[in-house]
Amino acid sequence: MFQQGFAVTATLEVRDLQTHFFTRAGVVKAVDGVSFTVERGKVLGLVGESGSGKSVTGFSIIGLVDAPGRVVGGSIWFQGKDLARLSEEEMRSLRGNRIAMIFQDPMMTLNPVLRVDTQMIETVQAHEQVDRETARQRARDALGMVGIPSPDERLMSYPHQFSGGMRQRVAIAIALLHRPDLIVADEPTTALDVTIQGQILAEVQKLAATTGTSLIWITHDLSVVAGLADDIAVMYAGRIVEDGPVSQVLDAPLHPYTVGLIGSVPSRNKRGEPLRQIPGMTPSLLKLPAGCAFRSRCERADEACLEHPALFGLREGQRARCFHPHLEEVPA
């Protein structure tokens, strides 16, 4: 089932993705009409607060949305296939193979009762018919690639014998075992020290550049995105409110929410002044207000915002879902 009209270079094309959770309290539209493209070898930063739907977007791509959640609409085009319509077995053969995922908390991602070699070898053997020794070889190479010293010894260790940063490296090594075309990274450095974070980011950037792997980097940390991503998509209440090239969006944000997010980064504030913040909190997805979801926290909101804004292409490559964008600020 091929669809015409896609750029051939795109690794992933998400179109109007809708992932809803059918809870007792009502339908939670965690992801409500999200579209984006990730080019080959590029890094997309998916940014937003907790509960904005960025992680659910990631899990939707890899097909791991658990009940009561379900992908109810849209398409996820990957290598000519719509992932939203694949069978469980077809999806399994892609997972960890062509699409890999790295999780947020490295202390929780590795099984505490299985040795590292078991957890790596099983990943190799899940997708390729190779004997244990070859698989072990591959595991050892992958550990070496992510900068783990004496990988032979480390293979025999249990996860609790590793530090957090080392565990995340192991998780990344597992993700790299099959040289995937796409890695979905769900806040993989949030739980780490800032120095370890820097090392891991540099490592990942290098790997992506050398292997041509595309990355979706899910985070709430704009400074990470600034250094790593090529493109950025800002999510709010299950929708993308602004997207574009990372330098453009961060230097001249259009959506008031993006402006607020950037303003909330402490280092951006002047010394001695009270830190800036976005007032209020993300609205409950169970009862979103009509019109723009950011309306209640936005200083620019007026009657026009009672309508639901579309994503307007306001500058070259940069779009924002706002009737009152910050167009007056010119990119520096």
Binding site: G96, A100, D105, N111, V113, Q119, E122, A126
Partner: protein, 320 residues
Amino acid sequence: MTVYLLRRLFQSLLVLVAMSLIVFVGVYAVGDPVEILISPDADQAERARAIVALGLDKPLWQQYLVFVQNALRGDLGRSFVYNEPALQLILQKMPATMELALGATVFAILVGLPLGLYAGLHPDSGGAKAIMAGSILGFSLPTFWVGLMLIMVFAVQLGWLPSTGRGDTLWGWSFLTPNGLSHLVLPSINLALFKISLVIRLTRSGVRETMLMDYVKFARAKGLSRNRVTYVHVFKNILIPVVTVVGLELGSTIAFSVVTESVFAWPGMGKLIIDSINVLDRPVIVAYLMIIVLMFIVINLVVDIMYSVLDPRVRLEGQG
């Protein structure tokens, strides 16, 4: 570790002393064994002689001191009824109870683990709900009644399995002969019922908890098959609590096999203790309870140590 062990041993000793005191006074309060043991038509002289022979002429505190003195030498007294050392009497009956308890444990694991796993993996299915309802029955139905029902159905009406005794034994064990094994089945199931329910509930809650862990999701994200995720990643994690509880329960299974042994006329320690209580055979009662307490202490200690071996993150220092 050594400090921990020493402290545990000292605590165990205190428990043993307290235990023996309570039983001694308790049995004394319940009744006078002389009334039961000595035939009613014995004359005064015979009575007096028997009382002296049993050591029952001394005041209670002296009797206790004599008991402690002997116990320190490994002698827990002679049975009033059988006129044999109480300890030996109990140890003779021990294999019967042991194999019954182990049989029950095997049943509990073989039946409880798969059912619990199913109930945990498909919590909303009808089968899972039936299993959980069944486990409530397992907890709440009285053991003696279930035992009687088992006998009625499988021994009397269907005639598949024998209902009393141990059958043929080899070196004192029933399970080594086909006939003995068939005798072992019904009482084992009866004794296992409570434990099956326990294992089902433990396994189910363990599975449901583990399924939500990140490492299970990560295992799926690696593209592992559902079976591999369930039987390796989930199963290994739930095994630790299940092994712990089944281990700890072994003691209570042995101790509470009394009812099952009575219903199935299984000649084990449980039946011995019930008979001994009926005739107030104090040395046997005391010796039995001492052995049971000792067994609990040892099992708890072994499980604690095993836990620290299984999970290197557990340290046994300090607390205890």
